[in-house]
C-alpha cells in the first residue's frame, strides 16, 4: 500500500515536471520572436550583423529615441489609432446591420448575398488596388485619413459580416418572436435584442478589423503621401530603403508599434477569448 502510494506520488511529480516543461517550452516558443526583436532593437547595426543572437555590449536606448523622432512615428501612431478605431466602428456598424439582414430574414437573393460576402473574404487585397486608387483619387480623398477609413471599412466588410452572421444565426428565433409580441419593431428588435446578444461576435469581428487596419501597409502607402496622414506601418519602413536597412531602428519602431495592439488586447481579452471559443460549444 505504501509502495503504491509512493509510485503514485512519483508519477504525479514526473507528470508535473513534464507539464511545466511543456508549458515553459510553449511560453518561450511564443515569446522568443518578441524577445529577440526587443533585444535586437537595443543593439548597434554592426552588432546585429555580426551576432544576431547575442546580447548587446551596450544597450542602445538611442534607437528608440531615433525611431520616435526621425521617422515621426508618434504622429503616425496617432493617425493609426484614429484610422483604425474609426474604420473599426464604421465597419462593425455596417456589418452588424448587414449580418442581421442576411442571418435573420428570408428574402430573394439572400443565399447569393451570403455567397458574395463569403467570396469577398477570398479576394486578395492587391487585386483591388487599381479600382480603389481610381475611386479615392476621383473623390479627392487621396492623402486624407477619411479616404483610408472608407477603404479599410470596405475591405473588412466581407470577413466581419461572415463572422457576425454566424453569431446572429445562433440566437433563438423565439427571443425575437417574443419581442414582436411585445410590440418591438424592426429597429427595436435589432437594437435591443440582437445587438446585445451578438456582442461577442461583434467584438471578435471588430478585433480582427482593428488588427487588419493597424497592420495594413499596401493601401496606406498607395493612398497617402504626407506624414500628417500616414500610418505607423509606413513609419516602420522609414528605416529601410532601396539598398540598405537600418535594422535596429526599424526594430525599435516595430516594438513601439506593437504596444497599442497589446493594450487593446488587454482591454478586450475577455471578449476576444470568449468570442474565439464560443463557436465550439454552440450547435
Amino acid at each position: 500500500m505504501v509502495k503504491s502510494s509512493k509510485n503514485f506520488r512519483l508519477i504525479s511529480v514526473i507528470g508535473s515536471i513534464l507539464k511545466w516543461f511543456f508549458l515553459i517550452f510553449l511560453f518561450v516558443y511564443a515569446l522568443f520572436p518578441l524577445i529577440w526583436l526587443t533585444i535586437s532593437s537595443l543593439k548597434t547595426n554592426a552588432e546585429f550583423m555580426a551576432s544576431p543572437f547575442s546580447l548587446p555590449e551596450t544597450w542602445q536606448w538611442g534607437n528608440y529615441v531615433k525611431a520616435l523622432t526621425v521617422s515621426g512615428i508618434a504622429r503616425m501612431m496617432f493617425n493609426s489609432v484614429v484610422i483604425s478605431v474609426a474604420a473599426t466602428l464604421l465597419n462593425v456598424l455596417i456589418t452588424s446591420m448587414s449580418a442581421y439582414a442576411v442571418s435573420r430574414f428570408e428574402f430573394k437573393g439572400n443565399n447569393l448575398l451570403q455567397m458574395m460576402f463569403s467570396a469577398g473574404v477570398l479576394v486578395p487585397l492587391n487585386a483591388l488596388m487599381v479600382p480603389y486608387f481610381i475611386l479615392i483619387t476621383r473623390l479627392k480623398l487621396d492623402n486624407t485619413m477619411l479616404g483610408l477609413i472608407l477603404v479599410y471599412t470596405a475591405i473588412g466588410i466581407p470577413i466581419s459580416t461572415f463572422i457576425t452572421t454566424g453569431f446572429m444565426r445562433s440566437i433563438p428565433r423565439e427571443l425575437e418572436e417574443s419581442a414582436v409580441i411585445d410590440g418591438a419593431n424592426f429597429y427595436v428588435r435589432f437594437k435591443s435584442v440582437i445587438l446585445p446578444l451578438s456582442r461577442t461576435g461583434i467584438v471578435t469581428a471588430g478585433t480582427f478589423q482593428f488588427l487588419t487596419c493597424w497592420n495594413e501597409f499596401v493601401y496606406a502607402n498607395l493612398l497617402t503621401s504626407s506624414p500628417e496622414v500616414r500610418t505607423v506601418q509606413l513609419g516602420i519602413r522609414y528605416f529601410t530603403n532601396q539598398f540598405s536597412t537600418d535594422y535596429v531602428s526599424m526594430y525599435a519602431a516595430i516594438v513601439i508599434s506593437i504596444v497599442p495592439s497589446i493594450i487593446a488586447y488587454m482591454l478586450f481579452q475577455n471578449q476576444i477569448i470568449s468570442g474565439l471559443t464560443s463557436g465550439a460549444v454552440k450547435g
Partner: protein, 439 residues
Amino acid sequence: MKKFIGIFLTGVLSVSLLAGCGGKGAEKPSGEAGKDGDTPVAEQTDTEQPSGDKVTLKWPCIWSGTDSKADVIREIVDDFNEEYADKYEVIIEENTDYQAYRDGLRTSISAGSAPDIFTFDDDFELYLASGRLVDLTERMDAGWSDNFIEGALEEGTFEDKVFAVPYEMGVTPIMYNKRLLAEAGWDSFPETFDELWELADDLVAAGITPFSQMTGENAWTSMLWYSQIVLAIGGPDVYDNPEDPAFVEAAEVMQKLFEYTTGDAVGAGASVSGGHFLAEETAIFINGPWYIGRLQEDGQNDMYEQVEISPVPLFEGGKGEKGGYVGFVQAYIAAGDTGDPAKTEAQIAFLEYLTEPARVSKLSAHSGALFYIQSDGEADYERLQGQMIEQIEAAPYIQKSFNVISPAAVVNEFPQALSSLVLGEFTPQEFVDSLNSKR
C-alpha cells in the same frame, strides 16, 4: 472601464471626424524638410500650402528617409524652390520602401495617371506604353543633352524621342576583402576562374568562407554572380540567344560557387549575405557603388579599408573579355504628362536642374552612387568609387545584368529556380529550362 472606453472612443472619433479626416495632409515644400536627415518628419509639416499661380510638382521620391542620396536631393530641391520661388515648387513625398513604391507607381500608371516627377529602374516599355511620359526631345536638342555622357540618352529614347532621363548608373563589380585573402596567402584577386577556385580552396583551408550568396528575396547577389558568369562564358552578345549554352554552363558554375558559400545561403536575404561580408565571415561579394556606405558604416573591424574591387575573372575558353563589366540604368527619371503646358515647363525645368553636372557631382561624392551625367571636373570621388570609374573606363564592354534583360516573370522565377539548382533538385539544364519557360 466601460465608461473610460466609451469616452476614449468618442474622443478619438470626434478628433478624427472633426479635426483631420477630411482634410488633405499638409503638403510640404521640401524646403521645410530637414537637411541633415535627422529632422523629425513630424516637424516637417508646419508649412503653408502652395500659393496662387505657382506651379506645384509632386515627387514621390525614393531617395528619402535614410537613403544615402536623401540629404543632397533635399538640398537640390530646396535650392530649386528658392531659385524659382515665384514660379515653381517641388514637393517631395517620401517613399522609403522601394517595393511598395514600385507597386504604387504601377498602380498609378495602370489607373491612367503618372506622378509629376518619378523614378523607375525597369519596365521602361510599360511607362512608355501608358502614353503618360513628357516628351523631353525638344529641350534635349536645345543643349540639355550635353549634360549626359555619350550614348546614355539612348536608354531613355523611343522612336527618336527622349521620354526618360537615364540618371543613376548601376555597376556591380566583385568586392573582396584583401585582409582575408592575405590570410589565405593571396595578395591580389584572381584573373581567371581557375585561379578563383584555387583561391576558394585556400580560403577554406584558412577557415574562411569564400563567397556570400543568397537565394531568398530576389537573390540579388547571386543573380549578379550569374550575370557575370554568363557574360564571362558567352560574351557580351549572349543575351541575344536565350538558348545559348553559356546559360547552362553558368548554372554549373553557380552550383560550384554554392559549395563555397555559407550554410544559410539557400533562402538567405540581402541582409544575411551582405551581413556575412560586413562581419568578415566571407571574403568575396558582389554589389554596387551604393553599398560603399554600408561598408563604411556597418563593416566590422574597419573592414571598409580592406575592401578592393575587381571585374569578374576571365573564364578560360569563354567569349568574355578581360575587364568586362556589368552595368545598367539603376534609375531613370521621368515626368508624368498632365496636358498642362505650364506644368510641363516646370517639370522640364526641374529635371534640367537635377541633371546639372555640378549638382550631380556633389550627389555622387556624397552618396557613392554613379550617374550618367558628365563630371564637372571637380568631382571628389571616394576611393572605391574612383576605382569603379577607372575600371568602367577601361572596360571593353559594359553589358546589362540578367534581371534587366529578362522579363519580370523570369526575374521572379530566378530565386526559386536557383534554390532548386543548388539543392540538387534541378540540373543546370532544368534550371535554364525553368527560367525560359517563363519567357
